[in-house]
Amino acid sequence: CKKFLTEDPKNVVAVTNFYQTEQDAVFAVNAIYAWLNSISSGSYAGVYLNSFWVTAGLASDEMNNQEIFSPYYDQTATFTYSSQNNALQEIWYTHYKTITLANIAIERIPLIQMDATLRTRLVNEAKFLRGMLYFDMVRMFGSIPLVLKESEPLTPSISSVDDIYAQIISDLSDAESLPLNYPPGDGRGRATSGAAKALLAKVYLTRGDYTNCAAKCKEVINSGEYALWDDFADVFKLSSRGGKEAIFSVGFGDAGGAIIFWEVGQFNVRLLPTALSAEGVENAQGWQVPTQDLYDSYDANDRRRAVTFVTEVHNPDGSITSIKPYIQKYWDRIAEPKANGTANDYPVIRYADVLLMLAEASNELGNTADAYTYINMVRKRARFDGTVYRDALPDYTNLSQEEFRAAVLKERRWEFVAEGQRWFDLARTHTLETLVPIAKPGVTPQTKHYLFPLPQREIDLNPNLVQNTGY
């Protein structure tokens, strides 16, 4: 009788009869990665498709919004956003969606009879991804539910920020035992030991644990797996994807048509100016633009300015039209002449970030030798114009600890435009109130802006959530 009433559909696979084979385990972990880029329904948004890095750019001195019909982005750019902000809701949903998939993998895969090495690796990949996602969330929203199991209450309670960080550190520490690398064509792009250490370094940096931060950065550097491209322009070439500077990236693109669905990135659509249609560029909307202050803050000979921005359009008749700066760094003009969507990766963390973190931590620890060594590695590359090193951006020397802090922050600003870093950097260094008004006169962030409001929809549906102060 009991069996008679048990559902056992043959035409569909249910949770009850999945997670049983090695292939199932791989599928379960792939599902987590698959939510990082874009997905096949709704707004197509995965975690890093747009709302995350657009919000981090707008809620800072980096970007302004020109996208009409998106008033929530106007509000983000001017720090007038509320708990009803669509982008925040999307960030919340996509992160938790992906976290729940990681929870399933972490809980289910250890029970599968399969190759033990692969099993451990897959679980650790899932832990890396869960740690990475909670790190985004705890920084943006503070005390939030720490869901870690497949089966959790529908309305979970919140956890303290310390507890969430403890879990992130635990997950990323486990992920340190991931492989150093994967051969191209066989998993290259999956989470690695280096990615876990680099992210862990950033966690420690955010927590003010400079010793551990420096130690993890050193481990990454000493692994010998990574190096800077000589030319900043090479960082964003399609041929550099998964290359020596990429520690962890999210892939976009359709693999030359192998994926029929829309998996292209939004960097070009959102960032390139409409005026580029004169050069044959399709569907450039110019929705998010750099602040003039950002552009002006560069040294004219900084290689990064020329690579990061486009300021002129070459008309078919050979004439040139000057335009205000737009961000073009993700556009590989040769590989993707029509731009439109892009197959470029989203860099979650790259080697330059590790160098600058180590410089920052060393400065805090009073280890000035290391501090200068690593910040100047990044500055040196910025001097390279593709053929020679220019006479610009001299190596830093003799800065006070305070001046060095400001220098690192500037270097990060120039290095990581539109990489989803700026709000986090300003929040970490507690400089939102001082730096944003310089770039955006009249825009005055307040203390409450060091956290974003929890989305109203979630507050309405879960009485256990507590709204952040000031919202």
Binding site: L5, V13, N30, A31, I104, A258, R457
Partner: protein, 1010 residues
């Protein structure tokens, strides 16, 4: 002691002989039955004085033999409502002993309306039962709501029980979706002529015996069985003609030419038609419509002896649709057999097989172009049907802007064919264990198969993108049911009586479907008959579904002194559709009835023949959700790439596709019913009235959930719906004697409200429907039409739609005299989405039926009126038919009275080609009152007198003529105030868009008995 032989003959009031009448010497076991010619012969001993004559459907009669030896007896047909036997779940009860709310509809009433399916014939016949004919398509299904709509995401159609077999009526399980438009009702496979009676169980006391499937009411269908006596052969046949009940009047070529020219001029554009007067009109509606015949032939053999009874019927029904190339045919047979194997054991079977074939045309909305009805209303009347210069030979499409295919080409060349068959059968054995205790076991099967084919050749506008398309779909399903019941009944000293039933049943449903389709058929000759001829085949898909139910139930009826009646019922259902821990649901109910008329103090109130008060309360359930909802299915969803200099590595993931809600459980409805049955003046007037209050809780509702779950919505048991109302039923016998006149009137009043939806956010659905807490289901939401601007100055100073302001960049779209006004509800000076408001409801305040039957000697005449009051309909056809841009043909009355400076009005706007911005706006202009009063049926019948027939060998002969939908009074401007584009949908009701028009039918028929 002497004994004598008494002989005689038994006849009916009309002189027909009655065979098989039981004649018993009172107080003895001496029993005989009348023979074929109605004669009997019985031995009576000296001290016995009384004979009892009884026959089903006739009043029992006792005669004192005195010293006579011959008695001819005339049996009177049972007209006393209260002594009728009523079928209830797993048993029968005398109507006078009913404690629950049950309506009974007899075969005679159903016969009046020629119908392809018995649900159509139920319309207006029973209080509390709202039947909506969804379209005029041959074989089309109806929507039935018993005491309101109780659910949003689970089903709302009642449970059907046919000769003990619980039938799935969910059309979704039986169709593949290939032949689009309203589906052929699953119940159309049952021949309405085979039905003896239909009982509708309404309150919780009556339906709780069906537990988790009782919340929407239960319809029990009993088919005709044989009677002991001479075998009879009857032939029933009718022939009818159908025509469209109401045509939509649109402009002719000359008028349309003028109209388009004026629309162009008003937008400062050049007129198109040089001399409209000389244009020739194509009446597109006439071109696709026809007068269509329908015919039914049925042969019945029935009879039996005291041990065996049989009834065998075969029938053929054919109906052409009023739209060309649409039809419906049904071949069916039924065989009902009962046999007393021994004094204790009876076995029997009921078997039906039906095969239905149907050719269809596409109606309602469609992809690329709408269905043929919309095409025919809107197509440019100036264009000819045929155009020899075009491939295919038909004018290809509307040339005025609105995307429309040539309706005649669609009707002629689009092929849509459905063939389905259904086998319905059960066998039973009944064993008398001891006096009063009986065991019954039965096994039933309901097997159906359905095959749907369609083909659109490349030269139809519809197939423009696919270059010709064919689809084939098939679905096969099987339900089996095993029921075991124990029945006990006992009378104690005339004071108490008890009647109890306990049972155990097991049921399983499964189906399998396969669907294939293909595009690009360069060769038109083979159509769907050779799908491999396609150059561009598409991915095929298939599906399976399965559910199981295990149930235990019981009911006790306890009666004290025939005055106080108690019923307690309970059913426990276990369903596969829910997760472990929630599989079982228990559904109890209790009822009490008090026959006040049996009290001593009522003895002297002679006017009251019977008076009964009833009250019941109980909980019943609903489980009509698709299977596998409590399982989280895993599927491919996301995919992505790992990019590197060596190229891109594609990966795919698999993940749960829905939230696992292990807590999913039954939707439940608590129902209170208070009723009264009154019978006055020797049953000349009988009245039944019920008040009910149904509260549905644990509503299975698609609900937003916190994103921390990984999902944004899931099916949860939240929400409440309340239905309350009155069912009123009055029957009177107005005259007896030579002219007999009787009347019946029933009224159903229901008020529906979604009292809790677990969200304060409005949910907007297609067709202008809004779901909002506190409102009834089927509420319309949109702008409020406020007349026509009479001057440019008024338009310039009033709130207008965005784009109509004086500053608008397009001068043609600036609001001017003759444009539509809308109410600025929030008073902010602009007309936008914030100015939408509630525009009425699709649910009627009440529905009713009113029947009059006259009989004079051998002539019978009946008039049956039926109607609905207070319901609104969204006439979406008028979004186009009142669109005065000249893109398509329009309503003649509106267009000929359009606003012009010389001939202003406050109802219809000016013609305006480009710049008309209020096209497609859902406003009160579209929502119409769809109340109606309809003369549903008139029948005049003549019964040949028995004495004339005597010599012919014919037992009985009745000929009749009738008309259906003869006359309708309504303000609704569409084809018919009864329609629904969305079929049996729960939430999308009262929406009319291009449905198959309803018909008016004239019939003549004959019933012959041999």
């Amino acid at each position: 002691q002497t004994s004598k032989k008494i002989t005689g003959k038994v006849t009916t009031e009309t002189g027909e002989v009655l065979a098989g009448v039981t004649v018993q010497v009172k107080g003895t076991s001496t029993i005989v039955t009348t023979n074929d010619s109605g004669s009997y012969s019985i031995n009576v001993s000296g001290n016995e004085t009384t004979l009892v004559f009884s026959y089903v459907g006739y009043a029992k009669q006792e005669v004192n033999v005195k010293n006579k030896t011959s008695f001819d007896v005339v049996l009177i047909e049972e007209k006393n409502e209260l002594s009728q036997v009523v079928v209830i779940g797993y048993g029968t009860v005398k109507k006078s002993d009913l404690t629950g709310s049950v309506v009974s509809v007899k075969a005679d009433e159903l016969k009046a309306v020629p119908a392809t399916s018995f649900d159509q014939a139920l319309q207006g016949r029973a209080a509390g039962v709202q039947v909506t004919q969804l379209s005029g398509k041959p074989g089309a299904e109806t929507s039935i709501r018993i005491r309101g709509t109780t659910s949003i995401n689970a089903g709302n159609e009642p449970l059907y029980v046919i000769d003990g077999m619980l039938i799935s009526s969910d059309g979704n399980d039986m169709n593949t979706g290939v032949t689009l438009g309203p589906r052929i009702g699953p119940l159309a496979a049952i021949n309405p002529n085979d039905i003896e009676s239909i009982e509708i169980l309404k309150d919780a006391s009556a339906t709780a015996i069906y537990g988790s499937r009782g919340a929407n009411g239960v319809v029990i269908i009993t088919t005709k069985r044989g009677r002991a006596g001479k075998g009879s052969v009857t032939l029933d046949s009718y022939y009818g003609q159908q025509e469209i009940a109401n045509k939509i009047h649109v402009l002719d070529a000359h008028q349309f030419g003028d109209f388009v020219n004026e629309a162009k001029l008003n937008a400062n554009q050049t007129p198109i038609y040089v001399n409209p007067k000389n244009l020739t009109t194509t009446d597109w509606q006439d071109a696709v419509l026809r007068t269509a015949p329908m015919a039914n032939y049925q042969l019945t053999f029935s009879g039996g002896d005291d041990k065996t009874k049989y009834s065998i019927t075969g029938s053929y029904f054919a109906q052409d649709g009023i739209i060309k190339n649409s039809d419906f045919k049904r071949y069916s047979f039924r065989s009902n057999l009962d046999r007393d194997v021994s004094k204790r054991l009876t076995v029997g079977t009921s078997v039906t097989y039906a095969r239905v074939t149907s050719n269809g045309v596409l109606t309602n909305a469609g992809t690329i172009v709408p269905g043929v009805v919309t095409d025919a209303m809107l197509f440019n009347p100036i264009l000819p049907i045929y155009d020899s210069t075009v491939v295919g030979g038909y004018t290809y499409e509307n040339d005025r802007g609105k995307l429309l295919g040539n309706p005649v080409a669609e009707v002629d060349k689009y092929n849509s064919y459905t063939v389905s068959s259904r086998f319905l059968g059960n066998i039973y054995a009944r064993y008398k264990l001891m006096e009063g205790l009986e065991f019954k076991t039965s096994f039933g099967l309901d097997a159906f198969s359905n095959k749907e084919n369609s083909y659109a050749p490349y030269y139809l506008k519809r197939a423009q993108a696919s270059k010709g398309e064919a689809s084939l779909g098939t679905v096969q399903g099987l339900t089996w049911l095993n029921e075991n019941t124990l029945n006990y009944s006992k009378q104690f000293k005339n004071e108490h009586s008890i009647n109890a039933v306990a049972g155990f049943t097991v049921q399983q449903f499964q189906n399998e479907s396969l669907f294939v389709y293909a595009f690009d058929f360069p060769d038109d000759r083979t159509g769907y008959h050779d799908i491999s001829a396609a150059l561009n085949p598409q991915k095929p898909f298939n599906g399976e579904s399965k559910w199981s139910l295990v149930s235990f139930f019981g009911r006790v009826n306890y009666t004290i002194k025939d005055k106080y009646l108690f019923t307690v019922t309970g059913r426990s259902d276990g369903s596969s559709k829910f997760a472990e821990g929630n599989k079982y649901g228990f559904f109890p109910s209790g009822a009490f009835a008090w026959r006040i008329s049996k009290e001593n103090f009522m003895k002297d109130v002679h006017a009251i023949s019977d008076l009964k008060f009833r009250a019941s309360y109980g909980v019943v359930g609903n489980q009509a959700i698709p299977p596998y909802q409590s399982l989280a299915l895993v599927g491919p969803y996301g995919e992505g790439v790992f990019n590197s200099s060596q190229g891109s590595e594609v990966y795919t993931g698999r993940e749960p596709l829905s939230y696992v809600n292990k807590d999913l459980k039954w939707e439940s409805t608590k129902q209170l019913d208070i009723g009264v049955d009154i019978s006055l003046f020797s049953n000349r007037i009988t009245f039944t009235g019920d008040y009910y209050n149904k509260k549905t809780f644990d509503l299975l509702l698609s609900t937003p959930i916190p994103s921390t779950s990984g999902f944004t919505s899931t099916l949860l048991n939240v929400g409440n719906i309340v239905n309350k109302g009155f069912d009123l039923d009055l029957k009177t016998i107005n005259t007896t004697g030579a002219l007999k006149w009787s009347t019946s009137l029933n009224v159903s009043i229901n008020k529906n409200e979604m009292t809790n939806l677990n969200t304060s956010t409005d949910i907007l659905l297609p067709g202008g429907i809004i779901l909002r807490q506190g409102l009834p289901i089927g509420t319309f939401y949109g702008y409020e039409f406020d007349g026509i601007f009479q001057s440019d100055a008024e338009a310039a100073s009033s709130p207008v739609l965005i784009g109509q302001e004086p500053t608008s960049p397009n001068p043609a779209s600036v609001a001017k005299a003759g444009d539509r006004k809308y109410k600025d509800i929030n008073g902010d000076g602009v007309i936008n989405a914030d100015d939408r408001t509630l525009l009425g409801n699709a649910q009627p305040k009440f529905t009713w039926g009113f029947n009059n039957t006259f009989s004079f000697k051998n002539i019978d005449l009946s008039f049956f009126f039926q109607g609905s009051e207070g319901n609104k309909m969204a006439n979406l056809n008028n979004l186009d038919l009142l669109n005065f841009t000249g893109q398509n043909n329009v309503l003649a009355e509106a267009a000929l009275n359009r606003w012009t400076p010389e001939n202003p009005n406050n109802k219809y706007p000016r013609a305006l080609s480009n710049g008309s911005l209020d096209v497609g706006i859902f406003s009160s202009n579209i929502v119409e009152d769809a109340s109606y009063i309809r003369l549903k049926n008139v029948t005049l019948a003549y019964r040949m007198p028995a004495n004339i027939l005597k010599k012919t060998g014919i037992q009985s002969l009745r000929i009749y003529a009738g008309a259906t939908n003869l006359w309708t009074l309504t303000d609704y401007t569409g084809y018919d105030p009864e329609a629904n584009t969305y079929g049996q949908s729960t939430t999308l009701i009262g929406i009319d868009y291009g449905g198959y028009p309803q018909t008016k039918t004239y019939t003549i028929g004959i019933n012959v008995g041999f």
